[in-house]
């Protein structure tokens, strides 16, 4: 089998490096990190050298995007305890 010429290997390596750089730039640009975004869970204090997460109350309704509030409507029934 005939070996590839030296100039072809150089052009190939330069091309591969450039394509990799472009792909990496596109990927990073599409996954921008916001360094000022709040920590989850929120950190409210550092006590005795240990980070303390903020307490979450036991009570309170936690909704999701698939569950809409209907404050203007009178409920027809309740999911009371059975």
């Amino acid at each position: 089998m005939k070996a590839a010429p030296e100039w072809a290997l150089k052009v190939g390596s330069v091309g591969l490096t450039m394509v990799t750089a472009v792909v990496a730039a596109v990927f990073v640009g599409g996954h921008v990190k916001n360094s000022s975004a709040p920590l989850q869970p929120k950190v409210v204090a550092v006590a005795n050298g240990e980070i303390q997460p903020s307490p979450t109350p036991a009570d309170g309704v936690h909704l999701t995007p698939s569950v809409r509030q209907g404050g203007a409507y009178q409920p027809v029934t309740s999911t009371y305890a059975s």
């Binding site: 979450t56 909704l63 999701t64 569950v67 027809v76 029934t77 999911t79 305890a81």
Partner: protein, 271 residues
Amino acid sequence: MPREIAELRFEALGTTCSLFAVGAGGGTLERARDWVLERHRRFTRFEDASELSRLNRGAGGWGEVSDELADLLRDSLHAYEVSGGLVHVGVIGCVIGAGYGRPFVEGPTTPRPTIPPPPLPEMLSLRPGQAYLAPGTGVDLGGIAKGWMADRLCAAMGGNLLANLGGDLFAAGTGPDGEGWPIDLAGTTVLLQDQGAATSSVRKRAWGAGLHHLIDPRTGRPAASDLAQVSVVAANAAEAEVSAKTALLLGSGQAREFLAARGLAWWMEAA
């Protein structure tokens, strides 16, 4: 313009059931009620003649089961799996041992010591048309049947129907205003559209200090959770019921992670 809601309340499954329909033909709610009552008779553990009691009496061998009971038992095994073993229909001996040996309205029975049940897959097996229970075991479907029935009832009846079976409910269709069925979730009104909700609680069906119907299969005793009630909204009533029960048994520390990981809406109340 809001459409008129037809409503029917009745007692079944040891609790109060409510059915609501919009634009349904005459007799729809009565047929839906009869559907629930028929399954109550078949799946109650308090009637010797029920299909479930017959299955429990035949523990130690294979027994014939209807398609619907097989479906319920299959869902029971699934609930056990997704709850990490916390939703366990095989705790019937522990429920009776805790004092819930007859219908709740008749009062508690004498408590007696019990041991935790074996893992559900070790005591319950299924094959087409038949179920097997290990010797000395039994199942109580009270913990999952209401959600299962609410889902199946709405699917069977079709249309714009809300089935609330003792707090485990499924809201089918767009409700009276086309925006969803308005449901009270711990003081907040939410609009549910083809979604289910359920509450698990140790405040109801309780008969003494630390004595209630919700058994922790890890101990075989009534759960000693730091939560008293958990309500969940999910894609259907069965999932909501299993998730609420699991969260309550996990306790507040792990319950939030469990519910958040599943993207469910919830409310919980400390004990």
